[in-house]
């Protein structure tokens, strides 16, 4: 079903006991039919945002409208308009794929004929026709994710929430899922809110990307706009002799700011219009030997680094450590 409203959020926040702000007053404007990539490490607030927007978790402050309905005051209407595939593909191992679709369709009020038609159509679309009557415990991770997507679409929602839909998938399954999500948005006008911690996913699939870090949106725009906002390329040098690592790092500081990366390489984000030839001449003049040198254009990870001071990978580890220590405190407070 074509969406005509998109998603709006104003100062949306969720606070837990102990004053921990999982989401700290975010603003969103997502156009109908847009694929919005919500990028951030584990624990950044992505899933909490999805839970609020899908009405599963009341916000502690702020407002949001999904498909034209208020997420607090019009929960049933929101739920009738959305489909959601949450972080874990929550399926019953003892039911078959077709039985899942039947249950979901039936609870959404589809008639027996509609159920049958829609199930057949969706199973075919996600490539599970042959596996439809097998129990889920025999499904691969990719098959579960595809069924999860089919279940989210069974009642023809106008807005789709996908919470890290490709985590743990092989490249082939990931690409297939991307194609289907892109088709839904472009051909059917479905608004897609997609959380991911994969840079490539956000880059390839999303029309616009919001980067969330510690409950705040720190950057937003199209992938190209975000990368252009960094503007400067990164030079990465692999020393031929590991003993020269420090000397090369020192020299490259003249050309830019060191960035996090492979510990065996030295990487700097150039501060001015860099000329690779100048860097090579400087290395040669200093008698420093390199095994490899490359210059690459900014990536979304560079954007993340520039906005948060840490790379997405590093932030994920940091957030995970914090999650382990804070887990006991994360009891929701009454909204």
């Amino acid at each position: 079903m074509r969406d005509e409203h998109g998603i709006d959020a104003e100062k949306l926040a969720r606070e837990y006991k102990g004053g921990i702000k999982a989401v700290d007053g975010i603003d969103l404007r997502i156009e109908p039919g847009e694929i919005y990539g919500f990028l951030g490490p584990n624990g950044a607030g992505k899933s909490t945002t999805v839970h609020m927007l899908t009405t599963l978790l009341p916000p502690t402050s702020g407002t949001a409208r999904v498909a034209g309905y208020d997420i607090v005051k019009q929960g049933p209407q929101v739920r009738a308009s959305i489909g959601a595939a949450l972080q874990e593909a929550a399926l019953d191992p003892f039911l078959t794929g077709r039985e899942h679709l039947r249950l979901q369709a039936s609870l959404h009020g589809l008639s027996p004929d509609e159920r049958k038609r829609r199930s057949t159509e969706l199973l075919e679309r996600v490539g599970l026709t042959r596996a439809a009557d097998r129990k889920i415990k025999g499904y691969s991770g990719g098959m579960k994710r595809r069924l999860d997507l089919a279940l989210a679409l069974v009642h023809e929602p106008s807005t789709l929430f996908l919470d890290e839909p490709t985590t743990g998938l092989d490249p082939q399954s990931r690409t297939a899922l991307w194609s289907e999500v892109a088709r839904l948005a472009k051909a059917e006008g479905v608004t897609v809110f997609l959380t991911t911690q994969y840079l490539e996913e956000a880059d390839v699939l999303a029309d616009r990307v919001g980067i969330i870090h510690r409950g705040h949106i720190v950057a937003e725009g199209t992938p190209d706009e975000l990368k252009a906002s960094i503007g400067r390329p990164t030079v990465e040098v692999t020393p031929a002799d590991p003993d020269q690592h420090e000397a090369i790092e020192e020299l490259l500081r003249n050309f830019g700011t060191p960035t996090a990366g492979d510990p065996l390489t030295v990487a700097v984000r150039c501060e001015q219009e860099a000329d690779l030839a100048d860097i090579i001449r400087a290395l040669d003049a200093a008698g420093l030997h390199v095994a490899q040198i490359q210059m690459h254009e900014p990536t979304l990870d560079d954007v993340f680094l520039a906005k948060t001071g840490t790379s997405l990978e590093g932030a994920a580890e940091e957030e995970e450590e914090e999650e382990e220590t804070e887990e006991e405190e994360l009891e929701p407070v009454k909204a």
Partner: protein, 258 residues
Amino acid sequence: MTSSVHQVLEIARRSVVRTLRQPAQIIPNVTFPLLLLAINSNGLRAATHIPGFPSNSFLDFFIPIAFMQGALFASGTAGVDLARDIDNGFLNRLALTPLRGWALLLGQLGGAVALGAIQATVYLGAGIAAGVRFESGVAGAVLLYALAILIALGFGTLGILIALKTGSGEAVQSAFPLLFFLLFLSSMNLPRNLIAVGWFRDLATANPVSYMIEAMRSLVITGWDVQALVLGFLFTILMIAIGLFGSARLLKTRMART
């Protein structure tokens, strides 16, 4: 919008299907009480010589215990299934549909009722084959069958209550021995008036499980004992009501939709 009855039936259908597809869960639940019945009806039959013992067949006296044990097993099944749904996010999937909370609860109990019915059929069949004679006749056997299923439903609500409180299948399984303890502190092995130890007799008298057992037992060994039946049904219905009321309250937190 789907009708409430339709929602209950859909959830019950799922619950029954998943229960029937786990033979490893059903077979021990059915066979263990039968084994205990076979051992006790032979090993403890000397108890029938105690003056005032209400039956000269320990099998007749003890067969309600098989139904009670089956009901307790059914409570574990219902609770563990729901706890798994909470743990793996299936409850969130259901919460995103127009499913009503109470329809989920009643539907979810479908598995417990199905398991209770299977067990009751087996115990009744095995008992009659082994020579159990119903003083209340065929109608009494039918009533015992219905009460056994109601008791399974009641313990199922307790299993669901624990699942909703803890959200953990392990916690439900850990609570199971506590429920079993209630069975041992009842008039399971002896009529209350023949329990010589005062504190044990008092505990058995205060234990609602005693009245459920005695209602079933009366149909086998006494005939139509209205008082025993009223008390048995009353405590069973009370257990169902408390289980459902508590579960409905807890479900509001577990299924906290706006």
